[in-house]
């Protein structure tokens, strides 16, 4: 494989990007696992969210529970499936040697990665929207029976409510960013099994470590920089004064992680032989 990407005359040709997008879309559409993984994102998210909502109780006013967080806790599992999808988007190509063909067809590597990112993000966001809406609907049906009623300070879960809309839209964005994080890391690492270990470690280790740290100062800092803890701050609808990081700033932290991963992945893709 050539170290220097071919520089055609159609450098600024929007058609070139269009072809790359079309190629990635065809691959994503025809690969056997894609549709099942997308359905798994929805199933895992809604199932875990409904189970947690079923287990949650609010027996009196001031119980301190967050109905949006409880309903959307399935994201904790759904993100793992999104990570698999993202890692496979490029790791699968390295595993089968398909990447050689892909880069022969689209020598401009950044364009190829951008096209992959666009298709992946689109697919993940569509599945996430269904998953989030399904989880909130389940929460809306289950939670009022468990004490989440206006008398206890909880209006019915509704997207017309500002904080709930933020939690819902933010969760969709969260899963999209997790996808980009996974794609960037897999591009840098090239081995699917190692890449998924790194992605899941990055997501799950911070909250586990933060919980075990007794020093509240360190705990707060860990939760401010962790991609998962900070990113999921977007789901908070109650007790916003006590959270370590505000909702949108938290999602920004995850966005920074995803951008860093994509940057590292893109740079290594350009510099290395395939």
């Amino acid at each position: 494989m050539s170290r220097v990407p071919a520089r055609g005359t159609r450098r600024a040709d929007p058609q070139y990007a269009g072809h790359a997008l079309h190629a990635e879309w065809t691959k994503a559409r025809t690969a056997g696992g894609t549709i099942w993984l997308l359905l798994a994102v929805i199933a895992a998210t809604v199932a875990v969210g409904s189970a947690v909502a079923t287990a949650t109780r609010c027996p009196a006013a001031g119980c301190g529970q967050d109905p949006a967080k409880a309903s959307l806790s399935g994201i904790d599992l759904g993100q793992a499936v999104v990570a698999i999808l993202a890692v496979l988007a490029i790791g699968g190509e390295y595993g089968t040697g398909m990447i050689l063909l892909t880069l022969t067809a689209i020598p401009r590597r950044t364009t190829m990665l951008a096209a992959k990112a666009a298709i992946l993000t689109g697919l993940v966001m569509v599945a996430s929207t269904v998953a989030v809406l399904g989880s909130l609907l389940a929460g809306r049906l289950i939670l009022p029976g468990h004490g989440f009623i206006p008398a206890h300070g909880y209006p019915l879960l509704s997207l017309a409510d500002g904080p709930y809309l933020r939690a819902a839209a933010g969760s969709v964005l969260y899963l999209g960013l997790v996808g980009l994080l996974g794609l960037g890391i897999a591009t840098a690492i090239r081995d699917s099994a190692v890449a998924i270990g790194v992605v899941l470690g990055l997501l799950y280790l911070f909250p586990v470590a933060a919980a075990a740290v007794a020093n509240p100062h360190w705990q707060r800092h860990l939760e401010q920089i962790a991609p998962m803890s900070a990113g999921l701050a977007i789901q908070a609808t109650t007790g916003l004064r006590g959270v370590p990081i505000s909702p949108w700033a938290g999602l920004g932290v995850l966005a920074a992680w995803a951008a860093g991963a994509m940057l590292a992945g893109g740079l290594l893709l350009r510099l290395r032989d395939a």
Binding site: A55, R57, D76, V87, A193, V194, G197, L200, A212, V213
Partner: protein, 508 residues
């Protein structure tokens, strides 16, 4: 010139299990990435233990608690009406009332009448009035009847039921050398022995008298998110105080110091003593009001090491499928179940060894770091520490074997890694790290899911005589240590069985 035909120095087949082990060990050893990964996994466990964030909450708030005769951190604060007793002797008293006040959840509001379950009023023989000194006591309690307690951790039940003017309780303590015997009676004539305490090194002159105390009020009925509470106060009324020695002057003291707004004190009128106190005479427990950390904290890095070893365990099998090496392997050793067994032994052995070394370093050095940072580490016996270290190594090894089995089932590294990480980490997250489930469902998840195995890291002791939030979120697992590990082993057995079944049935 004669040519010697080539002859392989390898033995003729069929190969035994030892040969299979040797073959798998060679495969493992010669992949540099796997060796590096095992070392990285071990180092991660150690690195987390030595991180500068390893501090207790204690040195932030500047707390410190007295240490009891057994070396454990204790609460020792109560109101004490006492006089010295030289040598042997006996004290008898009748308790006619125990009432109290508990806080209401509204800030600034006055307390309401109520009694916490372990409010205590009774008689005590104590080495001195300094907190943490040895003692033995007979007492009536809020809702646990008459108890004999001594040296903070020991608790023996006496007459059940609540105390009142119509149903008083008679209590007696008798000292004979280092031995103190406690008796109770409902009428002052028929006595029953409740227990015997041996207080090694009890000084010749001990302090003897009446006491009342009342621990923190904890409201935990709403689950994790809403633990509320605060100090409570109890008042005990005593009469028929009988001493076997010439009565001296009574002195009143707040043992353990007086906090602001403390209403403790005593009054005496016509042989009736009214003693009001707050605090507790009990071991300090980790939990809502706990101040220390357990040695499990030195093993935070277990998860980091675990994820690395899961990747290695899964790839030990999936790499064979990816490189088609599996065909060579199964041609050389057609008995597929034994191939998987050999692989399981190698990956289990390697990860157990790496886990053992790194967990031992983490626990031993990590405790030093914590203590050096001024944190209070709950003591654990040498045997308990060995259990934690060996158990942690076993958790890592069994999990790596599960990853191997799932890798055999799925034949894809990515799926195997994701499945194993999720089934171990997610139940732990939902119950211990970021508890989103209420205690009931959380306990069930920690009985059934692979995360049950982290019970091997529990060193905290659950004292029935101390009200506390004994939930997984505070480090109290529903299963005993080895039972938790057995749950993980059951999952491993299940995964291995399915893996052997599929490996035999499917084409490679």
């Amino acid at each position: 010139m004669t040519v010697t035909p080539y002859q392989s120095r390898l033995r003729e087949g069929p190969y035994g299990f030892a040969d299979l082990l040797h073959a798998e060990w060679t495969k493992f050893r010669t992949v540099r990435g796997w060796i590096i990964a095992v070392i990285v996994g071990g180092l991660a466990i150690v690195a987390f233990a030595l991180a500068p964030s390893q501090q207790g909450s204690c040195n932030v708030s500047g707390c410190s608690a007295p240490v009891g005769p057994g070396g454990e951190e204790v609460s020792d604060s109560f109101y004490f009406v006492h006089q010295p007793l030289a040598g042997n002797g006996s004290i008898t008293v009748r308790v006619t009332s125990l009432t109290g006040q508990i806080p209401v959840p509204v800030p600034g509001a006055a307390m309401r009448a109520g009694l916490v379950p372990w409010a205590k009023a009774g008689i005590i023989i104590k080495a001195s009035t300094s907190p943490g000194s040895a003692y033995a006591a007979m007492m009536v309690t809020g809702s646990h009847g008459v108890r004999m307690q001594y040296d903070f951790t020991q608790d023996r039940p006496g007459i059940p039921g609540a105390v009142s003017a119509t149903s008083p309780r008679w209590l007696r303590l008798t000292r004979s050398g280092d031995t103190i015997t406690g008796y109770d009676s409902a009428d002052g004539t028929h006595w029953a022995q409740v227990g015997t305490a041996t207080l090694a090194g009890l000084p010749q002159v001990a302090q003897v008298g009446l006491f009342t105390t009342s621990p923190q009020y904890l409201q935990t009925s709403l689950g994790e998110a809403s633990i509320s509470g605060g100090p409570s106060v109890a008042t005990g009324v005593f009469d028929h105080v009988g001493l076997s020695w010439p009565r001296g002057a009574w002195a009143g003291d707040n043992v353990g110091g007086s906090s602001p707004g403390n209403t403790a004190g005593s009054s005496q009128a016509a042989g009736t003593f009214t003693v009001t106190g707050t605090g507790d005479i009990a071991p300090v427990v980790s939990g809502g009001g706990g101040a220390g950390v357990s040695i499990a904290q030195t093993l935070v890095g277990t998860f980091a090491g675990l994820i690395v070893l899961v990747v290695v365990g899964a790839m030990f099998m999936t790499a064979e499928y990816r490189r088609r090496l599996i065909r060579v392997t199964l041609t050389a050793a057609p008995r597929r179940g034994r191939v998987l067994a050999a692989k399981a032994v190698i990956i289990g052995g390697v990860t157990f060894g790496a886990g053992l070394v790194s967990a031992a370093i983490a626990v031993i050095l990590g405790q030093r770091v914590l203590r050096g940072n001024g944190a209070y580490v709950y003591p654990a016996s040498a045997l308990t520490q060995v259990r934690v270290i060996v158990g942690t190594a076993a958790v890592l090894a069994v999990t790596a074997v599960i990853a191997l089995a799932i890798g055999t089932i799925l034949r894809r590294g990515i799926g195997a890694v994701a499945v194993v990480v999720v089934v171990i980490v997610l139940p732990y997250m939902f119950t211990v790290a970021a508890p989103i489930l209420p205690p009931g469902p959380a306990d069930w998840l920690l009985r059934l899911s692979p995360a049950a195995a982290f019970a091997v890291q529990q060193t905290l002791i659950q004292y029935p005589q101390v009200t506390n939030t004994y939930t997984a979120a505070y480090g109290y697992y529903p299963l005993p240590p080895w039972a938790g590990l057995a749950v993980l082993c059951a999952w491993a057995a299940l995964a291995l069985s399915l893996a052997v079944f599929l490996l035999r049935r499917r084409d490679a």
